[in-house]
């Protein structure tokens, strides 16, 4: 990369690596690369990392000093061998947008003044990027939603959002991999199993992958759920 990011202590047991001030695909590319390097080659020094839109938080292993870790992170960025191209997978996600699985689509219709068909058409025609996973296990932070679909979050969050719910929250769209509380507008449901505790290496959605949605009927959803 052409510019060394800002590397500094975030607390007495963590370091943050900052890649610019905004959300960009370029910063995202660096974050995917350097996250992989940290996970592959520095696991003895770190407890875990949290990549995000424009930063990586590195939590230090017990006994590792801030100064030691600052030095090894700087070394990673100075090593040109660490610059590699990424290949991003595209994951196609089937979504049933029928009203039974879309309790908030009317709310989205009200805010956007689009018909249901237009909302679905706009939601399936964009290509999305998974910036990172965070918040709860396997929850993807997805960028790329058509701005005209923007709808504010619910006034008060639901205590239980079913697993597989596809939703719009403000400027973002997302998928709930497991049942959890949530305040986004639910517009559909996928049957894809997006998070499995016993098989986390093979989760379909990973940081850096591309996502496309396509519309399926209720029958197709039910058949897929039963097969």
């Amino acid at each position: 990369m052409n510019k060394i990011p800002i590397i500094k202590a975030a607390s007495d047991r963590s370091i943050i690596i900052e890649f610019g001030n905004g959300i960009s695909e370029q910063a995202h590319g660096h974050i995917v690369r350097f996250s992989n390097i940290l996970l592959d080659s520095h696991s003895n020094d770190i407890k875990n990392i949290s990549p995000a839109y424009n930063s990586i938080l590195v939590r230090l292993e017990d006994g590792i000093t801030i100064s030691h870790m600052l030095k090894s992170i700087k070394n990673i960025f100075e090593d040109k061998a660490n610059i590699k191209d990424l290949s991003a997978n595209t994951i196609k996600i089937p979504v049933c947008y029928e009203s039974e699985y879309a309790p908030d689509i009317e709310r989205v219709m009200k805010y956007t003044r689009f018909s249901k068909d237009t909302i679905i058409k706009k939601h399936v025609s964009a290509q999305y990027l998974v910036y990172f996973l965070g918040f709860s296990p396997g929850f993807p932070y997805i960028g790329g939603m058509d701005k005209s679909l923007e709808t504010p979050r619910l006034g008060s969050p639901r205590t239980k959002v079913p697993a597989g719910s596809v939703a719009i929250g403000g400027k973002q769209t997302g998928i709930y991999p497991m049942q959890s509380p949530g305040g986004w507008n639910i517009i559909g449901r996928t049957h894809l199993n997006l998070f499995e505790w016993s098989d986390i290496e093979n989760m379909p959605i990973k940081m850096g992958c591309k996502i496309e949605f396509y519309s399926i009927s209720k029958d197709e959803l039910l058949n897929a759920e039963n097969s």
């Binding site: 975030a10 047991r13 407890k47 839109y53 996973l133 929850f139 986390i200 989760m203």
Partner: protein, 303 residues
């Protein structure tokens, strides 16, 4: 070999030192709220410091042993008896097959730890036995222990006890030391003064994910959220309403509120002992001092 819950406490959870290595896929570390006390309980029995124990919050229950065991209790002192005889904390205790350990309330802090010499036979999920309640995972079926739950244990540890732990728990929780938070520059001088010169009180709306503390309302210069980023353990986030939240062991991996300060690692065990209604002030220290205090604590916990 097992113990059975005859009556559960307010919140009995299986915890070890946490699930590391998976934060990048959104998995919270979890682990003992007062990890220092869990380590001490394990050291007293010659266990590995990362063995899982039962974390008991506010008041405990009744635990029936169907096999002889050696146990230890640590953390805040809860009224604890076997056959109506009071049991001391911080030493190995022998409990016989057929006896029941009764753990009552406490006048001390929020939590105590019950550890068995050997190990609890609870499934290892991604390297840890810790329970994470929000994702219903880890520990005992991802939940609080309740009546009739049976926890198997093995007595596979023949090591001798260690009674020479140098660490002395400081029970004064009226001052929590912090370092500057990542967004402390978003707060002006008068906000900073409000934050450091006033008492805060732990709200009832607190749990292992975060402690909501009530005190002066703190506003930042822009009153905007930040771009979501990784959340350090002990980060003090300030919401748009001016409320302060201490992110704690079960915290979400990322967050979007500005962070005004961060509890130092050496004081995190005190946060694990705070109860609703407890009052304290935040005291700013340098990063160097915080790191020195952390390494001092680590040395004192080694035998």
């Amino acid at each position: 070999m097992s113990l059975t819950i005859l009556k559960s406490g307010f919140q009995d959870l299986i915890q070890d030192l946490g699930r590391t290595g998976y934060s990048h896929i959104g998995i919270s570390q979890a682990g003992a709220a007062d990890s220092v006390s869990l380590r001490i309980a394990n050291l007293l029995l010659g266990n590995n410091i990362n063995e899982a124990g039962i974390e008991i919050t506010l008041f405990g229950g009744s635990y029936y042993f169907n096999k002889d065991a050696i146990i230890s209790l640590s953390g805040s002192v809860f009224r604890t008896t076997i056959n109506n005889k009071t049991i001391p904390f911080l030493e190995p205790i022998s409990i016989k097959k057929g006896q029941t350990l009764n753990i009552g309330p406490t006048n001390d802090g929020a939590r105590c730890y019950l550890v068995i010499k050997g190990s609890l036979e609870v499934p290892n999920l991604l390297g840890s036995r810790s329970t994470h309640l929000m994702s219903n995972a880890g520990g005992y079926y991802g939940r609080n222990l309740t009546k009739d739950d049976e926890i198997k244990f093995s007595n596979d540890n023949n090591k001798t006890f260690s009674n020479d732990i140098k660490f002395r728990v400081d029970k004064d929780r009226s001052i929590l030391r912090v370092t500057k938070g990542l967004q402390s520059n978003l707060f002006n001088d008068s906000s900073m003064k409000l934050f450091y010169n006033n008492e805060f009180k732990v709200s009832h709306n607190s749990n292992r994910m975060g402690l909501r503390v009530t005190g002066p309302k703190i506003y930042n210069k822009t009153s905007e959220d930040i771009i979501t980023e990784g959340l350090p353990l002990g980060a003090i986030q300030v919401t748009g309403n001016g409320d302060s939240i201490i992110s704690f062991v079960d915290h979400q991996t990322t967050g979007g509120y500005p962070k005004i300060a961060n509890i130092i690692a050496a004081d995190l065990h005190k946060v694990g002992q705070l109860k609703p209604g407890d009052k304290f002030i935040f005291k700013l220290v340098s990063l160097e001092e915080a790191e020195n205090l952390y390494f001092e604590q680590e040395r004192a916990l080694k035998i």
